[in-house]
């Protein structure tokens, strides 16, 4: 499964009721290309095969690879709109998977990936706007998928010049690895005035979000 259906439904209810301006362009790659996204690499020029689109019956994903070329790091990134009202919360939804030619590798020996927010000056930040990352140099040791709802700190609200970035890095083992980004969404969710019938849903969602913020580990191995 590419998506966890219950989350998707809750998210849809909430957002359709209360979301505001925060957006990511072509976050679900519905255009089956990299519209709205930018690519970067330590390799210049970028190796075209490192950035591909996977079309699975009209549902497209972006795939970034390591060790198909001489690149050490390949980056997919997009400047994000952090517009949000005072009473809303910024939720970042991530749905991606990773895979590698090798598995059962020793810790810190595999190719690895990171997901983080970049302030535009090259510094990497986590969801609390501390130095760090949302996913910080995680080993790609076989297939794994990630579906995350991450609450961004209020300090991100209405900031400009920030980028969401996916980076895959080679461990110089010349064995391919990849990260496949299925969808990314950023929503400003009003956290107040939920209709009575929705209140439990909202609370449940908020709780889930809190857990994500503190623990980010809804990882499903397949």
């Amino acid at each position: 499964m590419k998506r966890i259906l219950p989350f998707l439904v809750l998210n849809t209810i909430l957002i359709s009721a209360t979301c505001s301006a925060a957006t990511i362009t072509n976050g679900d790659f519905a255009t089956c290309d990299y519209s709205g996204w930018s690519q970067a690499s330590d390799l210049d020029p970028i190796a075209p095969d490192d950035f591909t689109i996977i079309d699975n019956g009209g549902t497209c994903s972006a795939q970034i690879s390591a060790d198909l070329s001489d690149a050490f790091g390949n980056i997919l990134f997009q400047e994000i709109d952090l517009s949000a009202s005072d009473s809303s919360q910024l939720w970042l939804s991530l749905d991606f998977s990773v895979d590698s030619a090798l598995s059962d590798q020793a810790p810190l020996t595999a190719d690895y990936f990171s997901v983080y927010l970049n302030d535009g000056s090259g510094n990497l930040f986590d969801q609390d706007m501390n130095f760090g990352a949302l996913f910080d140099a995680i080993d790609i040791n076989g297939a794994a998928s990630y579906q995350q709802q991450i609450l961004l700190a209020d300090s991100y609200k209405n900031q400009t010049g920030w980028f969401l970035e996916f980076q895959i890095n080679s461990n110089f083992d010349f064995e391919a690895a990849s990260i496949t980004v299925n969808s990314v969404a950023l929503d400003a969710v009003e956290a107040v005035s939920a209709p009575a019938g929705l209140s439990l849903v909202v609370l449940g969602f908020a709780f889930a979000g809190w857990r994500q913020r503190t623990l980010i580990k809804e990882v499903t191995h397949v």
């Binding site: 970067a40 690499s41 330590d42 001489d70 050490f72 790091g73 980056i75 990134f77 810190l108 690895y112 990171s114 983080y116 970049n118 302030d119 535009g120 000056s121 090259g122 510094n123 990497l124 930040f125 986590d126 609390d128 706007m129 501390n130 130095f131 760090g132 990352a133 910080d136 140099a137 300090s155 209405n158 900031q159 400009t160 010049g161 970035e165 980076q167 890095n169 461990n171 110089f172």
Partner: protein, 953 residues
């Protein structure tokens, strides 16, 4: 040690050059956990980044400073603070780690396609001074602002800087939440007191609200360490400040009693205008500054800026801004990086005592008195609106400054001086500051400008009464005249030989007055039945004499004798001789040619341009009373006198701009009170100067000049043709052009700064230029002198689609918007919108008085439409005429020839007879203001339009 009672998680961590204590003893920290991520590629800087997490799992705080050692790295580090004594790179950590605390820092390494390895360890300074004792703090742990510690300023004053915010005490503008104080600035029209005292009898309306908190009368300190951990707002028009003001103002009002700016920033994350900034570089500097000197406008300032390394923007996270203040020295820190020091060698306070005598404050004045803290976010204003992208970007608001804590420490070594606890950084900039102006003691100022007083009530000590009196016919004494005039010298000559003089021993060098000096004195003939003349002289010993002959009258007269003319004329009794101006032994000699009794008073030398047809301001040297100076908002301008590579230019002034905000000027001397010499240049026609641009890296190479008549009186910015780099270019600017120039208020009768010259404000960095041959010249024909009035001798249109030259819309008090707008029927019309509630009057202003004498039988007419009535229905529409010499006449507009009051929505014609204006007290030869406005205090809501303003003969 810094005694932190609570160590909060910082959103970002200091990674930077640190304040290493003078005698640090670094020891390894065994109990800390250190982990790191693997390298990621920083696409912006093409570096590697590594996140390092440092944890303190113990139950004991790890007191800072700490440093993270990065040893055996396989790639060169790119953001280290320094290297240890053993050559190991390290990062300084801003403060300690509380028990259980975890933080992440980010290391940067140079890029190479290889695996990165390194070893990490943590060290603590065991010797870090434990001498700062926490004496006051606010951790903002409650649910509201603690009113035992803070009070609010509530006003729409604008901070004296034309800032655009009203400060309120409302929770929307400042609140405590989640352990932080937030000051929020937002776009919102608000009305409040227009003064800093909160006096509600006078109001202003401004388009933003914010908050300004202070500890005045709740907490004040003299010396100590002040730490404020804060996250700053971003965007064009934001101006956060963490600062201190004196509580008692013992040396006088701002800035004689000082101001300490712990941290200021403007327009963070807007386009940077820092030296060397490229398009796309974002503003990231904070500033530490002192203001001091004399009361405004005699204040000065000094300071420097600081950018957190690795491109970390102060608006993206919390950083600690601090000062250490001790007797005679103040140091600035960001995240414990000591980046600036100022000392009392570079600051001063000068004030006047009860007798008006200027005094320089003793010791480390003014920074030796009680100061209190202030926290605020201003919007726009003189600084923020004039740099970076200019103006205010309303789209960035609301913006917040969040403050995590404010902590104040006392130096336990010596609380009374604050000395002995200093944290000294290795690379801090010693800001040179400013030297106190020399206070001229009259006894030390003999022969010098701007005014060399010889006799006022008494003779100065450097001189003595002397007389050449071979026949005993000369007598003199000091007598009291009228109480207003005080003492005068009464001289009686009963014969025809002899004189009285003021003798100087040693002789005086009076060369400052050689070119533009005047010998000035008051004289009255008490008895002159013989009709005697008087020779007035100065000399260097017979026959080196310069003289002039005058005939006193029975009324007091002020005589002005040109020093250069007298030097030129020389000795009328021994032609071919003249005084040696550098060796004047008798600066004032009075020699009646026959019997006479005289009174003399107020004998002095000063500057004047009577009869001068060419004023040399600079050519090879400064020509008194002119000298060169600069005003620098930040950065620096280096002014040197150098020998030109072009021999024909000799010595020139060379200006090197390491700033974007400065002007260089040639100005007259100032007296002890800072008042400059005002010179009448009405008989002159042209400003001339030469420029050689040596270096100019700017994309837009624009240059500007001005002529000032006692700022803000002046020509306004006058762009000049851009000179080619490397080629001397001569400029001749007609003074008439400077007067008619838009926005000019230049008054040639009171010029004190004949040339202000600068690369355009905001765009100066890197310019190196030379200036030579600065002159103001006349053509000898007074018939074509720049006008000092406009004579109306025919039907004259003052406005029709546009204003006639010299006329502009004007609003006295900042509560009306004035503009030229398009009217569907009439084309362009003048529009005045009284948007604010404060009293104001608006209308038309002329830069020169208009002489309507020829229209005494004519009319002043205009079309007027009251587009919107005042909110107050009782408000009457008034018209007021004012003149440059102070006469004025205010009347109802319904007193026009037509006799009708303005009706809303209708264009109406109004006619006023000029002769009637004259009869009612207006000097019709000096008209310069025509104002239309609703009754005082009742204008708000009114909008009117004006067209076809005309004087008809």
């Amino acid at each position: 040690m810094f005694k932190f009672t609570r160590l909060l998680t910082l959103s970002s961590f200091a990674l930077i050059a640190s304040a290493q204590p003078t005698f640090a003893e670094w020891q390894n920290v065994d109990g800390a956990n250190i982990t790191n991520s693997r390298q990621t590629f920083d696409r912006v800087n093409r570096q590697f980044k590594v996140n390092v997490t440092v944890s303190n799992p113990s139950n004991t705080d790890l007191v800072g400073p700490l440093r993270l050692l990065v040893d055996n790295a396989t790639l060169a580090s790119a953001n280290m603070s320094g290297v240890t004594e053993d050559g190991v790179p390290y990062l300084s950590l801003a403060s300690g780690l509380a028990a259980g605390e975890t933080r992440t820092v980010q290391l940067a390494f140079e890029y190479a396609r290889t695996r990165l390895n390194f070893d990490l360890s943590l060290e603590q300074d065991a010797q870090e001074q434990s001498d700062w004792t926490l004496v006051w703090q606010d951790e903002f742990e409650g649910s509201e602002v603690d009113d035992t510690k803070w009070s609010f300023e509530e006003n729409c004053w604008g901070g004296g800087n034309n800032e655009q915010q009203c400060y309120t005490n409302r929770a929307v503008n400042s609140f405590v939440e989640n352990g932080k104080l937030t000051i929020l600035a937002q776009q919102e029209t608000f009305t409040g007191p227009d003064n800093p005292n909160g006096d509600t009898s006078s109001l202003a309306t401004l388009p933003y609200t914010s908050a300004r908190l202070r500890t005045l009368n709740k907490a004040e300190w003299t010396y100590g360490r002040f730490e404020i951990n804060a996250k700053l707002p971003a965007g064009q028009g934001t101006w956060p400040a963490i600062w201190m003001l004196p509580t008692d103002y013992v040396y006088g009002t701002w800035a004689a009693s000082g101001e300490i700016d712990i941290m200021e920033a403007v327009n963070l994350k807007a386009q940077s205008d820092a030296p060397g900034a490229e398009p796309g570089d974002l503003e990231d500097r904070t500033h530490g500054t002192l203001h001091y000197g004399r009361i405004w406008p005699g204040n000065v300032s000094s300071g420097t800026d600081y950018a957190i390394p690795s491109g970390v923007n102060p608006a993206d996270g919390f950083h600690e801004y601090a000062i250490e203040w001790e007797d005679g020295e103040i140091r600035w820190y960001v995240d414990d990086v000591h980046y600036a020091t100022q000392t009392s060698d570079g600051w001063y306070s000068q004030y006047q005592d009860e007798d008006g005598v200027w005094i320089t404050g003793e010791g480390s004045a003014p920074f030796n008195e009680r100061f209190h803290l202030l926290l605020n976010v201003a919007v726009g204003g003189a600084w923020a609106s004039n740099v970076n992208e200019k103006g205010i970007d309303s789209s960035v608001f609301p913006q917040t400054m969040e403050i995590d804590y404010v902590r104040v420490y006392e130096c336990s070594i010596n609380p009374s001086t604050g000395q002995g606890c200093a944290t000294i950084g290795e690379n801090a900039e010693l800001v040179p500051g400013n030297q106190a102006p020399v206070i001229r003691d009259p006894s030390d100022n003999v022969g010098k400008g701007p005014v060399f007083n010889l006799f006022t009530n008494s003779l100065i000590e450097a001189l003595s009464f002397e007389s050449y009196n071979p026949n005993g016919s000369v007598s003199f004494e000091v007598q009291e005249d009228t109480p207003d005039r005080g003492n005068v010298v009464v001289l009686e000559q009963s014969g025809s030989v002899g004189n009285m003089f003021f003798g100087a021993s040693p002789a005086i060098n009076m060369s400052e007055f050689a070119e533009y000096g005047q010998l000035v004195f008051d004289i009255k003939a008490i008895e002159n039945g013989a009709g005697s003349d008087v020779l007035v002289k100065f000399d260097s010993g017979w026959p080196a004499v310069s003289d002039a002959r005058i005939t006193p009258t029975s009324a007091w007269q002020t005589m002005r004798l040109s020093v250069p003319d007298m030097l030129s004329t020389g000795n009328s009794l021994a032609p071919g001789n003249t005084a040696d101006i550098v060796d004047i032994s008798n600066p004032f000699v009075v020699e009646p040619t026959g019997p006479i009794t005289l009174a003399l008073d107020n004998v002095r030398y000063e500057f004047g341009l009577d009869g001068i047809n060419e004023v040399v301001v600079f050519d090879d040297r400064d020509h008194a009373p002119f000298s060169i100076g600069s005003f620098v908002a930040n950065g620096s301008v280096e002014i040197e006198q150098v020998v030109s590579a072009d021999a024909s230019h000799g010595e020139v002034k060379q200006l090197t701009f390491n700033t974007n905000e400065s002007v260089v000027y040639f100005q007259t001397q100032a007296d002890n009170g800072g008042t400059t010499v005002k010179l009448d240049m009405n008989s002159l026609d042209m400003l001339e100067f030469d420029i050689l641009v040596i270096e100019d890296p700017r994309d837009t190479r624009n240059f500007v000049i001005k002529m000032d008549c006692g700022f803000p009186c002046g020509s306004g910015d006058y762009p000049i043709e851009t000179p080619e780099i490397g080629v001397w270019k001569s400029y001749q600017i007609p003074l008439a052009d400077l007067i008619s120039h838009g926005g000019s208020s230049l008054n040639l009768a009171t010029v004190d700064t004949p040339l202000v010259i600068f690369p355009a404000w905001g765009n100066q960095q890197g310019v190196v230029m030379q200036v030579d041959n600065v002159r103001v010249v006349g053509d000898g024909n007074d018939d074509n002198n720049p006008p000092n009035e406009v004579v109306i001798d025919s039907d004259t249109v003052l406005f029709d689609d546009a204003f006639a030259p010299g006329w502009a819309l004007w609003d006295c008090c900042g509560n009306a918007n004035v503009s030229i707008v398009a009217d569907a029927e009439r084309g362009m019309v003048a529009n005045v919108d009284f948007f604010g509630p404060s009293p104001t009057v608006s209308g038309m202003q002329a830069s020169l008085p208009h002489n309507l004498a020829a229209a005494v039988n004519g009319t002043l007419e205009f079309d007027f439409k009251l587009a919107s009535a005042p909110n107050d229905e009782t408000a009457q529409l008034l018209i007021k005429f004012e003149t440059s010499n102070g006469t004025f006449l205010e009347m109802a507009m319904s007193e026009s020839v037509e006799g009708l009051a303005p009706q809303v929505g209708q264009w109406q014609h109004f006619t006023f007879n000029v002769g009637e204006l004259q009869q009612r007290g207006i000097d019709i030869e000096k008209l310069n203001l025509i104002l239309m406005f609703p009754s005082w205090t009742k204008a708000q809501g009114a909008v009117y339009q004006l067209d076809n303003v005309e004087v008809r003969l």
